[in-house]
């Protein structure tokens, strides 16, 4: 026998198959005990799955407040519509009692819904207030911590900067002293050099003076000799 593919049964089991598919598969189940047994087993399993019931969620106000409020408003609307219709379709003789009852019911339900709205708004406001208060507190604490941290780091920076400046000053002082010493030494050397140069020069000058005098004398002598010679002959 030609069995349908396994996955074809999924839409069939969950009522999602097209009419044609459903007809075809149902016909196959009629004629194929093998498939019929398997699919019956699957259906039993699906039914068995329902026996695992989950415990209800923890009761929460929002879970009933929503529906209650919704139904309250819906009831008010329906009553209002009914009231309006009644007014429109009522004969000229007005049944005062019925009308009063209707009005009372409408007012009551709209009052109830109004009060619920109010209550909800109050709860929201309280929540918002608490949230903003917590936020503010947190912000204040955070600010304080930040300030403290900033102060501490500023002090530390200042201290380190001072140390650095002092170190720089000391280094510069040292430099200046060394330079001064060197300078003085150079100046002394310079003076000594100058003095020795001067004495040398003086020596040279006196020597030269002596030499010039001697040269002049010899020139004079030579001139005298010459004149003597020329007058003799």
């Amino acid at each position: 026998m030609n069995h349908p593919k396994r996955e074809e049964w999924a839409p069939y089991l969950f009522d999602e198959a097209t009419a044609e598919e459903r007809r075809k598969l149902a016909a196959h189940l009629q004629n194929c005990p093998e498939c019929a047994a398997e699919i019956a087993g699957w259906q039993r399993s699906l039914k068995t799955l329902d026996r695992w019931k989950l415990p209800a969620a923890r009761a929460r106000s929002s879970q009933w407040a929503g529906p209650v409020l919704k139904w309250g408003i819906a009831a008010a609307l329906v009553l209002g519509a009914g009231f309006g219709l009644g007014r429109l379709s009522a004969p000229t003789t007005v049944d005062l009692n019925a009308m009063r009852a209707q009005t009372e019911a409408t007012i009551k339900s709209s009052l109830a819904s109004e009060m619920r709205k109010q209550f909800n708004a109050d709860v929201q406001a309280a929540l918002a207030a608490t949230r903003s208060q917590i936020t503010n507190e947190l912000r204040a604490q955070l600010n304080m911590m930040l300030t403290e941290a900033a102060n501490a780091s500023a002090t530390e920076t200042r201290r380190q900067l001072n140390e650095f400046v002092q170190a720089v000053h000391a280094a510069r002082e040292e430099d200046r002293r060394t330079t001064l010493l060197l300078f003085e030494k150079m100046q002394k050397q310079h003076c000594a050099d100058y003095l020795s140069l001067r004495s040398d020069l003086e020596t040279v000058a006196s020597l030269t003076d002596e030499e010039i005098r001697r040269a002049r004398q010899s020139l004079i002598q030579f001139a005298a000799n010459k004149s003597n010679q020329s007058s003799k002959p």
């Binding site: 074809e8 999924a10 398997e38």
Partner: protein, 246 residues
Amino acid sequence: MRKMNFLSALFSMTDEQAMWRVQTQEDHHAFAQLVERWEEPIRRLCARMTGDTHRAEDLKQEAFARVFEKRKSFQPNARFSTWLWRIALNLCYDELRRINRRGESPLDADESESIAARCEFAAETPTPDAQLAGQEEGELVRRALLRLPEIYRSVLVLRHYENLKLREIAEVLEIPEGTVNSRIAEGLARLTRILEPQFDDRQGRANPMHSNVAVNAGRRTGSASGSQDISAPASRPGLQLQKVLL
């Protein structure tokens, strides 16, 4: 102004509109609406996937936190529910991986819960016997589902418990619809192989006339799955059942 928002939200805002408000204006009111609408389904999904209702509560919270965190990445033409199911399911997968890595057995995770559940359902069930039987059956189903590989568990949970259409499941999981169908079929076949012997066994215990329980179970599942390799996996649930019942 707030009242107006609230009223319009009650009557007209779709999930996608609410999500759009969350996206563009960080509208906490709209977000609260979404949470209120979807927290129960998401909690149920997480409980069915992990087999642990306490964990499900945490996972649900995490799923909504992630929705808000990833609000900007929601595509406006996508369906909110599809996106939400996908986020929650991925969280479940992560959690199951973590549990496996720690070597915990999710099979035993829910002992306390099943006791709590016992008290909770006391009012619904008529007689103590029927009540006890119901809890035992529920526990068997929970364990059977946990023994299924995740890819089969997720499609069965989404289709059977959460009533998603097969096409929607395909969108959530981002796989072809044919693959969803074959996973459903395979999942059901495996589930039947796990469950049938247990429930046959239970019937056998309830009715002493059934002395040929094991033979009966073997025959039924054998013919149902059309193969003979079921004897090995079928023997374990029997043992487990003994444990549960004793």
